[in-house]
Symmetry: C2
Subunit: 135 residues, 2 copies
């Protein structure tokens, strides 16, 4: 049934449900680690690195996952994006916290007013430091 759900998610986005895609999607849905391609490859070592990259690209294209590439390590991190959310990044540790306690509707409206575009998505990263070393 997990498998069924995963198939449904892929097919709803027009992607064939291959073993590799099911594995990678499940991995992203069950890990809160915001992994890189290499990290996924280390755990799913029976899937080639090229396929990891190909699949991640596809999942990003259809909007199932998103990329975080603002970390200091210069690698792309991936995040399952079932529910839209924003990220809080601890600049001391590079830890990424998922959060959704903010309504983006007013921001969308502001962006629409400025640009005239139909808004399709967002990426928000908030940076912070541990409170006792703020200054």
């Amino acid at each position: 049934m997990v498998d069924k759900t995963l198939r449904d998610i892929l097919q709803a986005h027009g992607l064939k449900a291959t073993f590799q895609r099911l594995s990678i999607l499940e991995y992203l849905m069950t890990h809160e680690t915001h992994p890189t391609a290499e990290m996924i490859h280390a755990d799913l070592s029976n899937i080639s690195l090229a396929t990891i990259y190909n699949t991640l690209d596809k999942l990003v294209d259809v909007g199932i996952i998103i990329v975080i590439d603002t970390l200091k390590d210069d690698k792309r991190h991936y995040d399952y994006y079932g529910e839209p959310h924003y990220h809080i990044i601890n600049s001391n540790t590079n830890e990424i916290i998922d959060a959704d306690n903010f309504d983006v509707a007013p921001l969308f409206e502001a962006a629409r007013q400025v640009s005239g575009l139909n808004i399709t998505g967002f990426h928000i990263e908030i940076y912070g430091v541990e409170a006792d070393q703020a200054k």
Copy 2:
């Protein structure tokens, strides 16, 4: 006097005011193109590419400029960040629009509540498509 202001900006952030840094900072302040290191190097060809990268890193570190690396071209784009603002990205054209008609204070407060961190900055990118091709 422009030069004076540029020196002041650099020195206020603890950076020596070299010819190269003055040139690159002025370039970023006077171009709305959100250029890459290569684009800057193409225009300021008397400055070595290594120095362009070094200088951009320094300017990012002290917060004078920010990086946009969510574009499809897989290159880092840089943006003078004199006044905090957010970005609206036209997914059809990759055009980046600077906007500031949104108060981030409530978002900062939400992030502080979730994380307990002292919030130091933000990165917001809103994606959109031209209205007549939204669906």
